[in-house]
Symmetry: C2
């Protein structure tokens, strides 16, 4: 048989992910990807269908790794407000850690870039939004158990609100690296949610 298949397919996606994350889909050319990943064009086309599919693979990897790392705590059983707070703390910490570059969230960044015709990618973005909403909803439902002030409908509304608000935060972070604003936003949102459940 042939030469052993490179074991850096995983690295390939990771490298490409960073390139897309920083530069966006359009601005990142295949040449850039070749340079950045160290894998030749044919290698990329062999393992992925093309630029589109590689981009989607990056979105999925980002979803499974980066998002899960930060948001996973909210998705655990029994996660409450303190889990939400930890999520925001993670955001602030890691965003401050990545030196210089404010790149926001790959998925949030993609919102404005994806063509309305690209169903496959749009589905990924939608699913991400639904995921965040579901996480917030679970937290709210749990925290609401004590006093039961909120109806299910109100919980839905608050979860959607939190999701959109957080997506907005990511969009903001893409171009501004002000941890103060991020913390402020998170605090304001948390305080608002707390006051609503009682």
């Amino acid at each position: 048989m042939p030469r052993a298949k490179s074991e850096n397919r995983s690295d390939l996606v990771d490298s490409a992910l960073v390139a897309f994350w920083k530069g966006g889909y359009c601005a990142t050319s295949m040449g850039d990807l070749v340079k950045q990943t160290g894998v030749s064009r044919s290698g990329i086309y062999a393992d992925f269908g093309g630029k589109d599919d590689l981009f989607r693979a990056c979105l999925e990897r980002y979803r499974d790794e980066t998002v899960t790392q930060a948001f996973g705590v909210v998705e655990q059983d029994g996660a409450g407000f303190e889990a939400l707070e930890q999520y925001f703390k993670t955001i602030i910490t890691t965003s401050a850690a990545v030196e210089g570059a404010d790149i926001g969230c790959l998925i949030a960044n993609s919102l404005g870039q994806v063509s309305p015709d690209d169903r496959k990618t749009l589905a990924l973005l939608d699913a991400h939004a639904a995921r965040l909403t579901a996480g917030f909803k679970a937290v709210l439902r749990l925290e609401n158990q004590a006093k039961g002030k909120l109806t299910e409908t109100e919980i839905d509304a608050l979860a959607s609100f939190a999701m959109i608000s957080v997506q907005g935060l990511w969009g903001y972070m893409r171009n501004k690296a002000e941890p103060e604003i991020i913390r402020q936003h998170a605090d304001t949102l948390m305080e608002m949610l707390r006051s609503r459940v009682g």
Copy 2:
């Protein structure tokens, strides 16, 4: 003198604006713009420096026309919560009016597309964010006069929060045309602001 200069320079920007709005900066080629605007390449290059400058001109036009039309009510002297509510009502109405296409806000869409190096365009986006924040701040300060519950710092934080939250809403609207969610988000934000001032 020469052939009469087309009187549709204004239309040119308007047409290009729509193209950029729907498709984004990268996905909209000069060929598309020529087709869409009816103006030839040389005409575009004569009146604007190139694609970048045309795009910025579109952003500015969008800012002066579309944004002002919707947000201007908030920026008037003495604007209070009812002005904010009218802003949201306008958003919902017009977003429902534009048939089929959910295109969100041109400026919000650009957030994820602009290269971190493109200082000129980034400055426009920053200025827009500052504009929204200033509007919210003025409203909050006015509404806070009655009871004076909030400190200036708290008002700043709430204004930033509202701005980011609304930018998130626009990002969401780009891909989903659910007036219900929009209304819900607006209601939740309004209610939250009201409860904070007293």
